[in-house]
């Protein structure tokens, strides 16, 4: 339970109020609730329904205190969670008022009469506000001798959240969270009196991307996570502050481990980033760490083509042999830590003497490369808090960066700020944001971007990585930002991309945003690395490397199916050294496989979309701590061109000491957008993005989580439905020369020329099935 810093995000001078609590004077900003003011004095008033980030409810009545204002006393104790302080207010909590103390004890006794008191088998036992406060502010013994209310239990309110109605204290935190914070009012309180209970709608499941937060803020064990239920006792867990590895929102997390195994992850607190929330993917997708196909030892491919486990020296020697003296490159992947990215970046330049390095394991373009190396992306969460207008371009925050979504939603809820989205259709997320939709087929967003008006320096333009799939898209955005002064944010989906840019894991960039084309920047880095020079020729991009005749590639965690359908076949022709956690399409074709650790087993840091760095320590004690950088350092030694980064810490220190480039910068070469594609009646332009919960490999094995994923559907327009003679839910076949996808359709207000499908969901894995994901013409027919 944290202290809410009212006015922390307000630049305006707030009026201060002085009052007295239990004899201590305290001055706090106007509007501060009595319960918060008391916290500042270290006085803990017991509470259940109160939560600093939710609107007050005053429902549980646990926080009763005596209050008098200018000598006039309230006739009865007041709920301190609903009353703001006033000048001349004198508050007496349970510490100084016998009446308040008795009132609180009385409420606690009442709360417990219908509570099952099954703490010994309750997940919350040991970390339960009800347990704790019953000890601190309750009677030692209950006088209740009657019959308790009972319910059937547990009830699944979704595949991942279970409800025990007997334990529920009806504080309405879960329902208020879902309505006020997530905008998903799918759980409510039903019935009345002692039969009041949390429930879901008969026809609408609790499929919120944020449902796990209700489990975390439930002050009792009424809401439990299906995957964690009955698995552990809190006092057996070792907790480590961590950073989420799933997306660029940048959540602070807590990882709870018992005997070397992650049992759960919780949202950590960071007022500047995720406040106290996270998304269900970050919370519940971690089984990949202990998947059956984990690679434990180094392997090399033998003459019969089989991978064989070998010793580290053998594997390193084999890898070094294949890499040195050949034309080579490095594919980093978008999920590495800053330290690891720095390791790859230095390895490419020093050990392989090349700028052939790219972290982009997805569709990308030359225009994007220019953009990433030169654009000023300066938007932050705080800018969203103060924005007058948020523009989303090729970006669906609820699916692609869930905390960014919550932050925008907060202001939509609070200040009704304007949101505009340039997208083919209004997703559920953009409906929740009440976004003004500018319907655009994928590939032709440029005219919509150029036509945007009314932006100010308080506006925020948020761009997703997908816009690189539109020629001229990023160029028009750069122009828009510089013309209007609006803040610009580029938000990739993966957690490692921003850090990889900073580390220089791009063919045109060195660490600290130093352009390779700039000779003094190169000298700078060469000096920092104590090498004669760094290569000056701009390197190849991911796609170019795959298509090139490079002989050898060092590859971090990538999935070739994220890039193109032929990537794997083309890569198979090269000598590949794969640094991997689990068996994958890359280890399938690699000549040498070197095992690396998943995030829980190592330390490091991630950079979120704003550029804020979050460091974390290993949550699982692993003597080996096989972070990629450590292995790269050994490999460089083996090659004979050391990079001298034997530990994560050494990489961090060196990277930080290099610092950011403060010399001259260059501006982006702008690209002109392409025109609209012509299509026939039975054709459409395909558009897609990844749903938050999908077939992403880090969600492998999480069946409960997958249970709340949105169903795969193809979205078509009313008129297309008419011409295809289909109604909602009928099967529609989307095909091209490469393949086909058949899905139930959803008729929606989508751009007439477009259809939309999920990019990587069940029965709709577009690169695999169609070879394209956007901006391409496909045939659409009734199935």
């Amino acid at each position: 339970m944290s202290i809410q810093e009212l006015g922390a995000d307000q630049q305006v001078q707030v009026e201060m109020i002085t009052c007295v609590i239990d004899g201590f004077e305290i001055t706090v900003p106007k509007g501060t609730l009595v319960i918060r003011a008391a916290e500042k004095l270290g006085i803990q008033i017991p509470r259940f329904c109160d939560h600093p980030l939710l609107a007050p409810a005053g429902a549980c009545r646990q926080c009763l205190v005596d209050i008098e204002i200018n000598g006039r006393a309230f006739p009865k104790p007041q709920a301190s969670c609903t009353i703001p302080v006033e000048n001349g207010m004198v508050v007496k909590t349970q510490l100084t008022s016998p009446v308040a103390d008795k009132a609180q004890k009385g409420i606690m006794e009442l709360l417990l009469i219908n509570h099952p008191l099954d703490c010994p088998v309750c997940d919350k036992g040991g970390e339960c506000p009800l347990q704790n406060q019953a000890m601190s502010n309750g009677r030692a013994e209950s006088r209740f001798e009657g019959v308790k209310r009972t319910f059937e239990k547990p009830v699944a309110i979704s595949s991942q959240v279970l409800l025990d109605r007997e334990r529920c204290v009806l504080c309405a935190r879960c329902t208020r969270f879902s309505e006020q914070i997530a905008g998903d009012p799918f759980i409510t309180l039903n019935e009345r009196g002692a039969l009041q209970q949390v429930g879901i709608y008969e026809e609408e499941p609790f499929d919120s991307y944020y449902s796990g937060n209700t489990v975390q803020i439930c002050p009792v064990g009424a809401l439990t996570g299906t995957s964690y239920r009955f698995r552990a006792r809190p006092f057996d867990l070792v907790s480590t502050n961590s950073a989420c590895e799933h997306c660029a929102s940048g959540c602070a997390m807590r990882t709870d481990v018992r005997r070397g195994k992650t049992l759960r992850r919780l949202a950590g607190e960071d007022a500047e980033v995720n406040e106290e929330w996270n998304c269900d993917k970050g919370r519940w997708a971690f089984k990949y760490e202990v998947a059956k196909n984990r690679i434990k030892n180094p392997m090399i491919r033998d003459s019969s083509g089989q991978l064989q486990e070998v010793s580290w020296p053998e594997a390193l020697a084999e890898a070094a042999n294949g890499l040195k003296n050949s034309r080579s490159g490095v594919l980093v992947g978008g999920r590495v830590t800053i330290e690891d990215a720095y390791g790859y970046s230095k390895f490419a330049r020093v050990a392989l003497n090349t700028n052939n390095i790219d972290f982009r394991a997805r569709l990308h373009s030359q225009e994007e490369l220019e953009f990433l190396a030169t654009a000023k992306t300066n938007a932050t969460y705080k800018d969203l808090d103060n924005a007058d207008h948020v523009v989303l371009i090729g970006f669906e925050p609820e699916d692609e960066s869930p905390i960014v979504f919550l932050r925008i939603y907060k202001q939509v809820h609070k200040r009704s700020i304007k949101v505009t989205s340039i997208a083919p259709y209004a997703s559920r997320g953009s409906e929740k944001l009440k976004a003004n939709l500018i319907k655009s087929a994928s590939g032709s967003e440029v005219s919509a971007i150029s036509a945007l008006s009314g932006l100010t320096s308080k506006s925020v333009v948020l761009v997703g990585e997908r816009i690189s799939e539109t020629e001229g898209g990023l160029s028009s955005i750069v122009k828009l930002a510089s013309d209007t002064g609006a803040k610009l944010g580029w938000i990739p989906r993966r957690a490692g991309e921003k850090g990889a840019i900073a580390a220089g894991a791009l063919p045109n960039l060195l660490p600290g945003n130093r352009l390779i084309s700039n000779s003094s920047a190169r000298v700078d880095i060469a000096a920092a690395w104590s090498v004669d020079s760094v290569p000056s020729e701009i390197g190849l991009s991911t796609e170019e490397m795959i298509n090139s005749d490079l002989q050898a590639l060092l590859i971090g965690g990538i999935d070739p199916m994220d890039i193109s359908p032929e990537a794997k076949i083309k890569l198979a022709k090269k000598f590949i050294v794969s640094l991997e956690i689990r068996q994958s399409d890359i280890t399938d074709i690699a000549s040498v496989v070197l095992p690396v650790a998943p995030v829980v087993e190592k330390s490091g840091s991630f950079m979120d979309w704003q550029g804020k760095v979050r460091k974390f320590e290993a949550a699982v004690d692993q003597t080996l701590n096989r972070s990629d950088v450590r292995i790269l350092s050994m490999l460089a030694d083996e090659i004979g061109k050391p990079i001298n980064l034997p530990t994560v810490n050494s990489a961090r220190v060196e990277f930080e000491s290099i610092g950011s480039w403060d010399g001259e910068v260059s501006t982006m070469k702008l690209v002109v957008g392409a025109g609209n594609k012509a299509i026939n009646n039975d054709e459409a332009i395909i558009s897609s993005w990844r749903n938050l919960l999908d077939k992403g490999s880090l969600q492998d094995g999480e069946e409960n989580l997958a249970g709340t994923a949105r169903k795969s559907k193809v979205v078509i327009s009313q008129s297309r439905a008419k011409s295809l003679n289909v109604s909602d839910g009928d099967l529609v076949r989307v095909s091209n020369n490469y393949g086909a996808v058949t899905l139930a359709c959803q008729i929606s207000d989508i751009d007439e020329s477009s259809i939309w499908l999920p990019r990587n969901s069940l029965n709709s894995q577009l690169i695999r099935n169609l070879g394209v994901v956007s901006n391409s013409v496909v045939k659409v027919a009734k199935a």
């Binding site: 409810a57 409420i107 009442l110 219908n114 009657g146 009196g193 002692a194």
Partner: protein, 434 residues
């Protein structure tokens, strides 16, 4: 001479009193002409000057409530009538609406005009279907007569009136729960502030008034402040409906000036059931602490009842003679509150659940004297600790019954059962009924 002052109930004995024609015949719908030619603020001032206090239970001055609505705020205002009457014993609004719905409509037009509302609502208790139909008909008739709708009486005032039928919850009589229910949500009281006068229905300035309060306004406009203030006592002006029920020979509605006593009302109503004597009574419905025969001369106005330790409430006088077991009566009321608790707050939700169990044991003669103290302590933990006044209402009869009839509770314990024969308290033939 009878002390009765029939105003609202003056014509209830006419067979067609509820019709539009009868209301007109009896001088109805003349106050609106008068009111609509006054300035709205003058109407508010008149109601303030009359001293009319809310008849829904709390007795808040009606004119002041109207005056709280911010004017010139460019917002819609709403006028809402509380016709949810569900408190045990309270039965005045229902007969009033049955016998004369038009007086309420006339009051609504005047009130809406005064607070500058163009939309009014009657939130009516869902169980009383016959009354719903009658009020609906009256509204239609008023529309037909041009008294509702656009440009009423050519004075440029528009008013639409909607009848909303509740779904059967006592709590929806609490004004903020009523507003939630009216908006289509589950009825639970709202956190205040903001008060309805600032953010009520759909977060717009709203007046919520009881049926009787609003129905009293046309007579005040027609007859003037002096006429109204000539009745009643110093701080409780005017006439009101007293509802006598239970062990009286002639139960029913008795319209009299505020400050009349039960002794006087009993004289008018033919006295306690013949052959029996008064044991206890509620001055204002089941939520108000009970009185006994020691309180026969308490003036039944807001101040008098309050000085004697209870509340005038809804002036629902439930009369119980000596055949009634106090424990049984209190248990029945408590069961009502348990059933009607909305569940939002702990003391009421859990407290009523517990109270019923304790009282059931006591009624059956189980337990010890210590349980009486526990019961009182429980009430102390509920009273004044809850989110709304429903729970106070639940604790009141228990606390007051223990104050006056503790011995009777002990008698149950001594006997190991209830010493009363419930049949003797019934008002119907006891032979063969069990």
């Amino acid at each position: 001479m009878s002390k009765l002052t029939p105003v609202l109930s003056a014509n209830w004995d006419q067979k067609d009193s509820f019709t539009f024609e009868a209301y007109k015949r009896n001088g109805g719908y003349t106050a609106i002409a008068k009111a609509l030619s006054m300035k709205p603020d003058e109407v508010i001032q008149t109601v303030k000057d009359s001293g009319l206090r809310g008849r829904g239970g709390a007795g808040f001055p009606t004119g002041n409530k109207w005056g709280f609505i911010p004017q010139g705020d460019n917002k819609e205002h709403y006028f809402v009538v509380n016709a949810d009457e569900s408190e045990p014993g309270t039965c005045k609004d229902t007969p009033l609406l049955m016998a004369n719905p038009h007086v309420l409509i006339e009051g609504i037009i005047i009130g809406s005009y005064a607070i500058r509302a163009n939309h009014a609502f009657i939130y009516i208790r869902g169980e009383i279907t016959h009354v719903v139909r009658r009020v609906q008909q009256a509204i239609e008739d008023a529309y037909k007569a041009g008294l509702l709708g656009k440009n009423i009486l050519g004075k440029g005032f528009d008013l639409d009136l909607v009848l909303h039928v509740g779904a059967g919850a006592y709590i929806c009589g609490e004004e903020t729960a009523l507003l939630d229910s009216l908006e289509g949500f589950r009825g639970q009281p709202r956190l205040r502030p903001p008060f309805p006068a600032i953010a009520g229905l759909y977060a717009k300035p709203t007046v919520v008034n009881n049926v009787e309060s609003v129905a009293s306004v046309p007579a005040i406009i027609n007859n003037g402040v002096a006429w109204f203030t000539a009745m009643g006592t110093e701080k409780s002006k005017g006439f009101t409906l007293y509802s006598l029920s239970g062990h009286v020979n002639n139960p029913g509605q008795f319209e009299a000036p505020l400050g009349i006593t039960l002794r006087e009302l009993l004289e008018i109503s033919g006295g306690i059931r013949t052959g029996h004597k008064l044991k206890f009574w509620t001055p204002g419905g089941s939520s108000t602490p009970i009185f006994t025969d020691a309180h026969l001369d308490v003036p039944l106005d807001y101040e008098g009842v309050s000085a004697a330790g209870s509340m005038l409430g809804t002036k629902a006088l439930q009369i119980f003679d000596e055949t009634t077991c106090i424990v049984r009566a209190v248990l029945r009321w408590t069961e009502f509150y348990k059933h009607e608790s909305c569940g939002k707050c702990t003391p009421c939700r859990e407290g009523t659940w517990w109270l019923v169990q304790v009282l059931k044991d006591l009624e059956a003669g189980r337990g010890s004297e210590a349980d009486l103290d526990k019961l009182l302590d429980l009430c102390d933990n509920i009273m004044g600790r809850s989110f709304c006044a429903l729970a106070d209402g639940a604790a009141s009869p228990i606390i007051s019954s223990l104050k006056y009839f503790r011995q009777e509770y002990l008698d149950h314990l001594a006997a190991g059962k209830c010493p009363f024969d419930p049949m003797t308290a019934t008002l119907f033939e006891s032979a063969g009924v069990k």
